[in-house]
Symmetry: D2
Subunit: 229 residues, 4 copies
C-alpha cells in the first residue's frame, strides 16, 4: 500500500508564491506583500501566472513528503526527476526484515501467475536472509531482491516542479504505480493549498489535447484534432 | 541599507532534516520520526551529518528571504548561484522613481571622490527619467543606470546550499557587499534554527586553514601550515 | 556589436542524441548505434523525439560559445538560465580600459538623447578611471559603471536547454538585445547541426499560437484563436 | 562485465576549460585564447584552478559514455547524481531476452551460495518470461526481476561533476560495483585528457586524510591525524 504523508511545507504556500511574484513589478517589498495580499488577490495572481506560463515564482514554496510502500521499480523512476531532493532507505545498510513487496494488478488478476509470483518474491527474500546469515554483506545480498520490494523515502519538491512532474506522471499512460503515487501527492497538496493542488493535473488538461501516440480517451490526440478540420 | 527578512521557511527545519536523514537507516517511517525525535537527538544527528559530510538531508529545509537595498552589482553575482530560486524586481517593467543606490565604503572615505560619485549616480538617474519622459521605454533607458542602483528580490535556498554559499561568501576576501548580505541571511536563519545558523560560516572554519592565495589573518594558508612543519 | 562564436561542441551532435535515444528501446548498444545510424535514421529519430516531447536525449550534446559585446544589462538576464555554465569577465579583477558599451536603437534614433547618453556613459567611465587612479579598488569603482558597459563570457548549454531558452528568448516580445544574442547563437548551431538549429525558434512556432498578453503579429493569441470560433 | 566507452566528448577538453577560465581575467577573447594557449599554459592553468578550488570552468567540457553490464542496483545509485544526463534502457518497453546479471564477488567466493544465487536469478527470469508469454505487460512482469539484472545507459557528465563524483565513488568504502564503474570512466577520460583524468581520484587524495568513520588504510582518518599531535 502506497502511503504518502506531507510532513512539512512552506507555510501559507500560495501567499508566498504570490508575494514573490508581485516583487518583480511592485514598488512595495515582499514583507509588506505577505501581510497585505488578500486571499482573492492571491488567487487572482496565481491564475494569471499559470495562464501566462510565468512559473518561476512557484519555486518559492516547497513540500516535503514521507513516502512508503512503493516498489524499487518505481523509486528508480522517481529519482530521475532531478529538480527535487530525496533521502531513501538504504538497502546497503538496512537489512529488510519483512518481505514487503508490491504486486501489479495485472498479476493479481491471474491466480495461477499470482501464486508463482508470491512464491518467487518470498523465495528471493528467503535466500537474501540465508546469505545474510552466512555472512554476505547486505549490500551484496540485496542483488537477489526483486524490483517489487518496497522502499521508503523522503522527497522534497517545489511547487513548480510538482506542477511539471504531475503533468507527466498523472497521465494515465504513465506507469500505474507512479500515477498512484502522484495521485496521493496531489491529495496531500490539495489539503493545504487547494488552488495549487488543482493545478496538479495531466498535461492534456493544460494542452487541450493528448500529445501521446495514443490517447487514453479523455482528450483526442493532436493528430485527431487537426485531422478533424 | 541592506535589508533581509525571512518571510517563510520549512517549519521546524532542523527536525525535518534529522527525520529525513534517519529514514535512510531507520526501520521507522518519517512521520513517526518527526514526532519522536527529541531536540537532543536532532542536535546529535545534525552534528554527525555535518562531520561526515552527508549533507543531502539538509536539502529538505528551505528558507525564503525578502532582500532589499543591494546593488545590481551584487545581485548579478548572487544569481550566479544556480541551486536557488530568485524573483527579482524588473528594471524592464518597473521604472525607478527614487535614486536609491549603494556607496562603497572606500569611496565614502574619500570626500572629494564621494561628492563626484553622488553627482554622477544622480545625473545618470536624472537622464534615465529624461529619457522615460521623452518616450524611451524603461527597458532601454535603464542602460544608463549604474551598477550601484538598488534592487530588491525574493530568494529561496535550501539549507545545504546555504551552508555551501556561506562557506564562500562569508569569506572576508569575498566582495564586501555580498559578505554583508550573507551576514544578514545568517542572522535570520540563526533566529529560527540556531544549530543550522551556526554552520553558516566561511570555509576556513571548516577546513582549519585558508585556501585563498592570501589569508585575511584568521587562519594561516595551506602553504603556511605545511611550511611550518 | 554582439559577437558569438562556437568555440567547441560535442562532435556529431545529432547522431549522439539519436544514439542515446535509441539505447532506451534498442537491443544494440550505443557504441554500435553511433556507427550504424544513417543520416536519414538520425533525422527521423530527432523528428519523432521532438514531436512527442521526449527531449531528455538532447541533453547529451553540448555547445560552448564565446560571447562578446553584450551589455551587463543583458548578461544579468542571461545568467538567470540556471541549466547552463558561464564564465564571465570579472569587473572585480579586470579594469575596463576602453569605454565599450551598448546603445539601444530607441536612443540612437533620437540624436538629442543619444548625445547625452554617450556623454553620460563616457563620464561614468572617466570617473571610474579617476577613482582607480586615486587608489579605489576596481571592485568598488565599478559601482559607477552603467548597465550599458560591454562584457564578455563563455557559455555552455546543452541542446535541450538551447531549445527551451530559444523558445523564450527568440520571442519578439523578449528584450531586443537578448533576442539578437540568441539569433547569433542559433546561426552558430545551424552551421554545424542544421536539423537541431532549425528547432531553435520562438515558442509560438511550436504552439501554433501566441501565449503572451499581446502578439507581435506572427501568430494570433490563444484568446483570439478560441474567440474566432 | 562492466563495459564503458566514451562515445563523444568536447574536443580538446583541457584547452576549452583553460580558455574559458582565462576569459574572466584576460583582455583577449576566448576564440583567440583557444588558438594561442600552449599545452604548458593549459596545464599550468588547470593546476592553478584545481589548487584554488575554482572549478566552474571545468563545466565547459562534457563527456558522454556508453555504459553496459552494470546491475539495476548500481544504476539506481548512479542516477542519484543529479548534475548529469542519463538515457537508460527501459524495462518498461524492452523485454529482457537473455538473463544477463551481475554476481557480487562475496557470493562467487561461496560455491554453495553461488549455486543458489544463480538458480534464483534464473528462476526469476524464467517466471518473467512465463508472465510475458501469458500476456502480462513487460512493465509489470519486470517486478519479479532481481536488482542483479544488467542494464545499459548513456551518461553525459561535465568535468566538474566528474571530479566531484569520482571523489566520492572512487573511495574504496563506496559500493564495489560503482567503484568499478568509475575506474573505467576514469580510464576512458585519461585516454583523451590525461591532466583531467589524473584529477579523477578519491577525496582523501585531495584532503590528505580520510573523512569516513573508518579508513581503508591509504590515509589516516581526521581523528587519527589530530590525535597524533
Amino acid at each position: 500500500m502506497i502511503y504518502v504523508s506531507l510532513i512539512s511545507y512552506t507555510p501559507d504556500p500560495e501567499r508566498t508564491i504570490a508575494a514573490a511574484a508581485r516583487v518583480s513589478t511592485s514598488p512595495v517589498g515582499a514583507t509588506k506583500l505577505m501581510e497585505k495580499l488578500t486571499p482573492e488577490a492571491v488567487d487572482r495572481l496565481l491564475t494569471q501566472l499559470l495562464a501566462s506560463g510565468h512559473l518561476s515564482p512557484f519555486e518559492h514554496a516547497s513540500f516535503t513528503f514521507a513516502i512508503e510502500g512503493i516498489s524499487r521499480v518505481t523509486s528508480h523512476q522517481l529519482v530521475r526527476h532531478r529538480m527535487a531532493s530525496y533521502t531513501q532507505q538504504s538497502q546497503r545498510y538496512v537489512s529488510l526484515k519483512k518481505a514487503d513487496y508490491v504486486t501489479p494488478a495485472t498479476i493479481s488478476a491471474r491466480p495461477e501467475l499470482e501464486a508463482k509470483y508470491h512464491d518467487m518474491v518470498r523465495d528471493c527474500h528467503r535466500l537474501y536472509h540465508e546469505m545474510l546469515d552466512a555472512g554476505i554483506p547486505a549490500e551484496d545480498a540485496r542483488y537477489v531482491l526483486p524490483g517489487a520490494m518496497e522502499t521508503r523515502l523522503v522527497m522534497t519538491m517545489n511547487a513548480r516542479e510538482l506542477i511539471h512532474v504531475c503533468s507527466l506522471r498523472l497521465c494515465l499512460r504513465a506507469q500505474w504505480e507512479i500515477v498512484a503515487l502522484f495521485e496521493r501527492v496531489k491529495a496531500e497538496v490539495e489539503r493545504v493549498a487547494p488552488r495549487l493542488g488543482a493545478e496538479l493535473k495531466p498535461k492534456c488538461y493544460r494542452l487541450g489535447y493528448c500529445d501521446e501516440a495514443e490517447s487514453c480517451g479523455i482528450f483526442p490526440t493532436a493528430k485527431e484534432v487537426s485531422g478533424g478540420k
